[in-house]
């Protein structure tokens, strides 16, 4: 290979990877269906924004991976990879326009070609596409050459626009709910009904830059001031922060509309599930893919006990709730016993099998007289608190909030207890843990039981919120969603789970178009997180150590 060739290798290679990625998200329809939603109204549809982000990222990587640290070559490499990406798309558009590939690829529609070529027909559109690619590459190249501060500023400012545009459906209703002239005016200034206004985008960039620079200049001072505080004062400020958080959480539903409250209750249910699975996967290191079984058990117990259908026990929600949780715990122990001796992959598959067995049994005609079969069980009454009917999602929110706080409290206490340490020892190495005198049977079963109990609690609330339960609500995807929350948020980390649930479950509810690509994106996210940051996005301190000590120790021995 000649030297000139090897210089462009990275640009072409990373460009090709980026090109295939953009091609894939175009072909699966993401660019098109996200094209209906704008980040900046009339200027930048979200689908295009995603394609641009991937292109810029790829070009940036190309510049970074250039073997020679000469600025002009790095810049040129970024441009080359940008060109390669757009070249892929250009070839695709030309093929798509001349042959009928829609027969096979359902996403290859004329609308997509229009989006990719900026609405310009013929050769002009192809040229525009290639030009966009080159510009992306050039932008990434310049970004790479910038110094640290301006680069961070640019990237974060652009991300701010993207996130503000993305969260429009969240922010706008909250602003509107105040219904004060001033805020209404501001909302109108920043947002249209579809994305930011151009003025809003520019304003938010300016505001963000000012804030960022201010923070950047004073960051050191604030931090050292905080560090200089005496211990009690620090504790006081933490308590104050907690109180503020609590107040926000308590008044939050008053500002959310019906739809957003609905979204937040779904997030809450998944937070509960995630906290439960966190005990099993995060603390004890047992990957359970049949976790939905306990959710289903919690739901069905509440349904059977409170619904007038089938048995008509006539209990109310509060009487059924503890029974549901106890049933969940018992089921956790019962399903835990057979898998006691299994580890890793086997455990995952066996639990996946259990989850499916439960679903198949509930769905079957055989158990229909007792469990309702495919029709499920309906008319489950809402929880009733001292004569107050909890009908609206806002009411369920408080129920969930109470549940989550309780579960977080239990999780934190358990983590620091003897059992928690036993779980973590087991997670690190079962054999060593056993040699140290830990009773593996009891420890494992406790982990399964605790996780199952939390899951059943979530299921119980779910049943009374929805008002009816069907076997189809309890498929394997629920388990996978919860696994994604726990893993991507950060194994073993409670804030990670809350944030993970909010992002992974909240976003698809807010962005309806996204819901269709949910598992697609989760799959990619799982792979990427495992490849780049196996401890998750908001890791627990101990876990972070665990994942990084090996590599660092390895690096030391090499050095």
């Amino acid at each position: 290979m000649t030297k000139a060739q090897s210089l462009w290798n990275q640009g072409v290679k990373i460009g090709a990877i980026g090109g295939v990625s953009v091609l894939i998200i175009s072909l699966v329809g993401m660019v098109e269906s996200f094209g209906k939603r704008d980040i900046i109204a009339g200027v930048l549809p979200m689908g295009v924004a995603i394609a641009l982000i991937i292109s810029i990222l790829a070009a940036y990587m190309a510049a970074k991976k250039t073997p020679i640290s000469e600025k002009s070559i790095q810049f040129a490499n970024a441009v080359v990879s940008g060109l390669v990406i757009s070249g892929f798309l250009a070839v695709f558009v030309m093929i798509g326009r001349s042959f009928n590939i829609r027969e096979m690829f359902v996403g290859a529609s004329p609308v997509l070609y229009n989006i990719l070529t900026g609405g310009v027909a013929g050769a002009g559109g192809i040229f525009l596409l290639l030009l966009t690619g080159v510009l992306c590459g050039a932008f990434a190249g310049i970004l790479y050459m910038l110094r640290d501060l301006p680069r961070k500023l640019t990237v974060n400012a652009l991300l701010t626009i993207f996130i503000l545009g993305l969260l429009q459906e969240l922010i706008l209703p909250i602003l509107k709910a105040w219904d004060i002239g001033m805020i209404n005016y501001l909302a109108g200034l920043f947002y249209t009904l579809n994305g930011l206004t151009p003025v809003g985008a520019i304003l938010s960039v300016v505001i963000f830059c000012v804030l960022y620079l201010l923070w950047n200049a004073n960051q050191g001072a604030v931090k050292s001031k905080y560090a200089a505080l005496p211990k009690e004062a620090r504790k006081k400020s933490q308590i104050a922060a907690l109180i503020v958080l609590a107040v926000i959480l308590i008044v939050l539903p008053q500002f959310l509309g019906l739809f957003l409250s609905e979204v937040i209750t779904i997030v809450g249910l998944y937070v509960l599930l995630g906290l439960g699975l966190n005990i099993v996967v995060g603390y004890a290191g047992l990957l359970d893919l049949g976790y939905v079984a306990f959710f289903a058990i919690g739901s069905y117990v509440v349904a059977l006990l409170t619904s007038p259908q089938i048995f008509a026990f006539g209990l109310n929600f509060w009487q059924a709730l503890p029974i549901a949780v106890i049933c969940g715990i018992l089921a956790g122990v019962m399903l835990g016993i057979p898998v006691l001796k299994m580890r890793g992959d086997y455990l995952a598959i066996a639990t996946l099998g259990f989850g499916e067995i439960i679903r198949i049994l509930v769905l079957s005609d055989f158990l229909r007289p007792w469990l309702g079969g495919a029709q499920g069980i309906g008319s489950i009454p809402n929880p009733n608190l001292f004569g107050f009917q909890m009908v609206k999602p806002q009411h369920i929110y408080y129920l969930l909030l109470a549940g989550i706080i309780l579960v977080i409290f239990i999780s934190l206490r358990l983590k620091k207890s003897k059992i928690g340490r036993a779980w973590m020892a087991m997670r690190e190495d079962e054999d060593v843990a056993q040699a140290m005198g830990i009773n593996l049977v009891a420890t494992k079963l406790l982990a399964f039981a605790t996780g199952a109990g939390f899951s059943a609690l979530s299921g119980a609330i779910f049943a009374s919120k929805i008002g009816s339960v069907y076997p189809h609500s309890f498929n394997v995807f629920i388990s996978i969603n919860v696994v994604c929350i726990v893993i991507i948020g950060g194994i073993g980390s409670l804030p990670g789970i809350v944030v993970g649930a909010a992002v992974l479950m909240g976003l698809p509810e807010l962005l309806r178009e996204f819901a269709e690509y949910r598992m697609f994106v989760y799959g990619v996210a799982l792979v990427i997180v495992m490849l780049l940051r196996p401890e998750g996005l908001l890791p627990e301190a101990r876990h972070k150590m665990e994942f990084h000590d090996e590599t660092e120790a390895g690096a030391k021995t090499v050095a």
């Binding site: 699966v28 001796k341 079957s364 490849l531």
Partner: protein, 353 residues
């Protein structure tokens, strides 16, 4: 003697034996009462058996992929079910294109070969890329990590193909020569089932001989025995791992087409259940053991087709066929509890897993 035995047995052991014993008793009772009730005639049972054999030989082909990958990497390739799906799903478009141009009816053999070629190529590519992108960078990572990556890859692939090819259930075109019956020893059997069985057995023989006879096969076996030692003997371990995925992908692609020809439909989720079943088959036969996987696949296929009628009908269970997947999973769990090494397994699964 009794004291010694008492010390070794724990409560969980007893509970498990009770569960196993109860299930066994239920099966026996069910079989006896089914046979006494005489709901099914001899020809019914033969139909069940042949269908089970056909289905089982497909499972067996997929299971070889699981088992070989487990041999070399000591991990379960969760995405193997999607490798299985990707081939026939792509082949579907070739098949319909040929069907529309009447090529399928005029040159059916060539057409079927073409479908197989496309499907096997796509499955192979998917398997190869999954290994290269998702698994290779994680060699030596903690065990949980490649497992989670594999789950991610599995769902990514499912929804990638859903996005690319659409979410509908696509009917495979009818191939005239595969329709109808044959009379074998006076028994009427569906042509397609016989063809599936024969094709799968031929493919498995080829695969087994490839692994046992060729240099590459020998190298793969060496890698699954001991990676470091194999590397020291001058074997390119990474290349052999890739080759394993490629062979597994080819087998899965072929199995996928057989599955599609037998059940006449493809969709993006079709790999999930057969994948799980094939994994069960691989465990049943002893994971890491190729003949075991084949045997396990056929055994599982037979059980799945016979058991609902034989075991459950006699117990008075309505619509027993709804529970056939539950039977397969129960068997998986039972095997993992009582004989994790599988029927032919030498490796101690619980030790390695």
């Amino acid at each position: 003697m009794f004291q010694k035995w008492k010390d070794r047995v724990t409560i969980t052991d007893i509970v498990m034996w009770m569960i196993g014993g109860t299930l066994l008793l239920l099966c026996l009772w069910g079989s006896v009462s089914t046979i006494r009730a005489g709901l099914y005639t001899k020809s019914h049972w033969i139909d069940f058996l042949i269908f089970g054999l056909a289905q089982g030989s497909i499972y067996a082909l997929i299971a070889t992929g699981y088992t070989m990958v487990y041999g070399v990497l000591k991990m379960i390739n969760f995405a193997h079910g999607e490798v299985f799906m990707s081939g026939p799903f792509t082949g579907y478009f070739v098949a319909t294109a040929m069907w529309r141009s009447d090529f399928l009816d005029n040159h059916p053999i060539t057409a079927i070969v073409a479908i197989f070629a496309v499907a096997m190529f796509v499955s192979t590519m998917v398997a190869f890329l999954v290994e290269k992108i998702a698994y290779r960078p994680l060699r030596g990572a903690p065990r949980l990590i490649p497992l989670i990556t594999a789950i991610g890859a599995s769902f990514f692939l499912q929804y990638l193909f859903k996005g690319l090819y659409g979410s509908g259930i696509n009917a495979y075109p009818d191939i005239e020569i595969l329709n109808g019956f044959w009379m074998i020893f006076g028994i009427r059997v569906l042509k397609i089932q016989v063809i599936v069985i024969i094709a799968a057995i031929v493919l498995m023989l080829v695969l087994y001989n490839f692994i046992m006879m060729t240099r590459v096969g020998k190298a793969i076996r060496a890698v699954s025995e001991d990676k470091e030692a194999a590397a020291l003997m001058g074997i390119n371990v990474d290349a052999m791992i890739s080759t394993t995925f490629i062979i597994g992908g080819m087998a899965a692609g072929a199995a996928g087409v057989l599955y599609a020809l037998m059940f006449k439909q493809v969709h993006f989720f079709m790999g999930f259940l057969p994948g799980l079943k094939a994994f069960t088959a691989a465990v049943l036969g002893g994971i890491g053991n190729i003949p075991g996987a084949m045997l396990g696949g056929i055994f599982l296929g037979l059980i799945e087709s016979v058991a609902p009628a034989l075991f459950l009908d006699g117990l008075g269970i309505i619509a027993p066929y709804q529970l056939k997947d539950a039977i397969a999973f129960t068997m998986l769990v039972m095997v993992l509890i009582f004989r994790p090494t599988g029927i032919l397994g030498e490796r101690l699964a619980s030790k390695k897993a």
